[in-house]
Amino acid sequence: MPSTITLPKSLRTYLSEAGLITRFAIRFGKEVFMPPYELREFLRQCYILGYKSLPLVAVTGFIMGLVLTLQTRPTLMEFGAEAWMPSMVGISIVREIGPVITALICAGKIGSSIGAELGSMKVTEQIDAMEVSGTNPFRYLVVTKIMATTIMIPILVILADFIALCGSFLVEYTKGAVSWQLYFSQVFAHLDFGDLMPSTAKSFFFGFAIGLIGCYKGYNSKKGTAGVGRAANSAVVVSSMLLFIIDFVAVLIADIFYEL
């Protein structure tokens, strides 16, 4: 059938990909509520995807806190505003840096591992084997993984925020001799629900995006080992890009709700 409009090939590829991902997400939305629930596998995935990412997230978070404070301190000192350090670092970590850095790290670690795992399972017919043995592979593999990332990323973000603040506190403590209590009361002095809630909410979407894209790419991976590699790679690329788009949209929406 000849198409009435001829779109550029890249645009066509993009649109069909977006359509397929949406369809995949809708399928997830349907299957997530359908029994049987794979609770045990879900917990296992939470452990593998969440707990196993904790060291990496903790280290990056800690370093982010250190670096942010070290970089900002001299500038604020010029204005004689070191007293603003805790609240400034606190707001920037809670609002933006914590969620985005954690999500990007996880997109790299979790997204690629999901993409590669599902990709290789697809290529070696393990997904078919699952279906044949009466287990719905979509529910067993995809739903559990997406649920796990959706739940675990916000948890990782909260921990990363806390660890980053600890890193920032360490700098303040050594350079400015700020006490623990003062530091954290300063951090909370300027934090609002308008900072905390949108960033927590968007972390859920970050987690969902990472799981969704990883699973989509792996589940639809092409035959052969090259297909697995490509699945892992594009899972990271697409989900990282999607994270920024979600972030942007989240900021716009949060503004509507919390500006007034």
Binding site: C46, Y47, I155, L159, L191
Partner: protein
């Protein structure tokens, strides 16, 4: 299976820890906004809130006691600010407390300051409206500061001349300073000043009233008032003003002596310097003097302008000229 259990414990630990952190964060932010516990609301009306936003802090005696709940525009020139505070501070905020808008440091957030009233009023109730005091802009502050500076410069110049004179040991001042009975004198002087200023105030007030009446009652009333009885009363009043004016003069001389003596800081005077009630008296007196003398000059000017008194002043001037 066994491996699963261990994994789940670690996972549970991680999830619990993060939930605890999250709850702590919510708790701290919540207590800051008085989300938990009893709250009460009070309002205040301002002409201009200077960029105050809901969520800004409300301070009482320098302590953050609540937040701005919402800001409502009531009319083109009035804005109603709703403040939310914890029940715990309600008993300290009296009905005559005054709300003003200030900022936290030069570049900080805007906030509402609640200044305590006399403390004799009962505590505010929920939804009460308290008085407000619109914040002076920085321009006003700077203007006030510059005029104050000028005054200070003048004052110090005067003080310098006085102290120089004292140092040189001229006249009676030095003798006075070395007199141990000085403090007694000083005290009585102060009470004198107070009395004088009080009477001056009363007199000028009365005078003002009379002048007002005269001005208002032009025509027939003015004629009536031109009665001799009134005139004699008027004369009496004016004599009193004279008296008080003289008193004021002596008082200010005394005061100058007193201040220079205080500066010298010797003998019993030194003790006086640390007597806080005394210095309060001093302040009070100074303020009184300022007010009364200002009123005096004002009334004098008014009288000069009034046709009823024009004649009197002319005569007075002539008398002075003759002398």
């Amino acid at each position: 299976m066994k491996r699963d259990t261990g994994d789940n414990i670690k996972l549970g630990f991680m999830v619990t820890l993060s939930l605890i952190l999250f709850v702590i964060a919510i708790y701290f932010i919540g207590t800051k906004q008085n989300l938990f516990g009893q709250n009460f609301y009070i309002t205040a009306i301002f002409n201009n809130v200077n960029g105050l936003q809901s969520g800004n802090n409300v301070r009482f005696a320098g302590i953050n006691v609540g937040t701005v709940d919402k800001i409502v525009i009531v009319s083109d020139s009035t804005v109603e600010v709703h403040m939310k505070m914890g029940e715990g501070v309600r008993s300290y905020i009296k009905k005559d407390a005054i709300a003003s808008i200030g900022s936290d440091g030069l570049v900080g957030n805007m906030l509402v300051n609640i200044s305590p009233g006399n403390g004799e009023q009962p505590a505010v109730e929920n939804q009460d409206r308290i008085a407000s005091f619109s914040r002076t802009d920085t321009d006003d502050i700077l203007n006030a500061l510059s005029s104050t500076n000028e005054n200070i410069a003048l004052l110090t110049r005067n003080l310098l001349t006085i102290t120089e004179k004292i140092n040189e040991g001229e006249g009676a001042i030095t003798a006075l300073l070395n007199d141990p009975g000085m403090s007694e004198n000083l005290k009585s002087t102060f009470s004198n000043i107070e009395e004088v200023t009080k009477s001056a105030l009363v007199a000028t007030n009365r005078l003002g009233n009379v002048a007002q009446d005269i001005e208002n009652g032009k025509g027939l009333l003015g004629f009536l008032l031109n009665d001799t009885t009134v005139e004699s009363e008027m004369k009496l009043v004016l004599a009193k003003i004279h008296e008080s004016g003289d008193n004021l003069q002596t008082a200010s001389v005394n005061l100058q002596q007193a201040t220079s003596a205080l500066n010298q800081g010797e003998g019993t005077l030194n003790a006086l310097l640390y007597d806080s009630s005394m210095s309060n008296d001093l302040k009070q007196s100074l303020a009184n003097i300022k007010v009364s003398s200002a009123l005096l000059t004002e009334n004098m000017e008014a009288m000069r302008e009034n046709f009823l008194f024009r004649k009197y002043f002319k005569e007075k001037n002539k008398e002075n000229d003759r002398e």
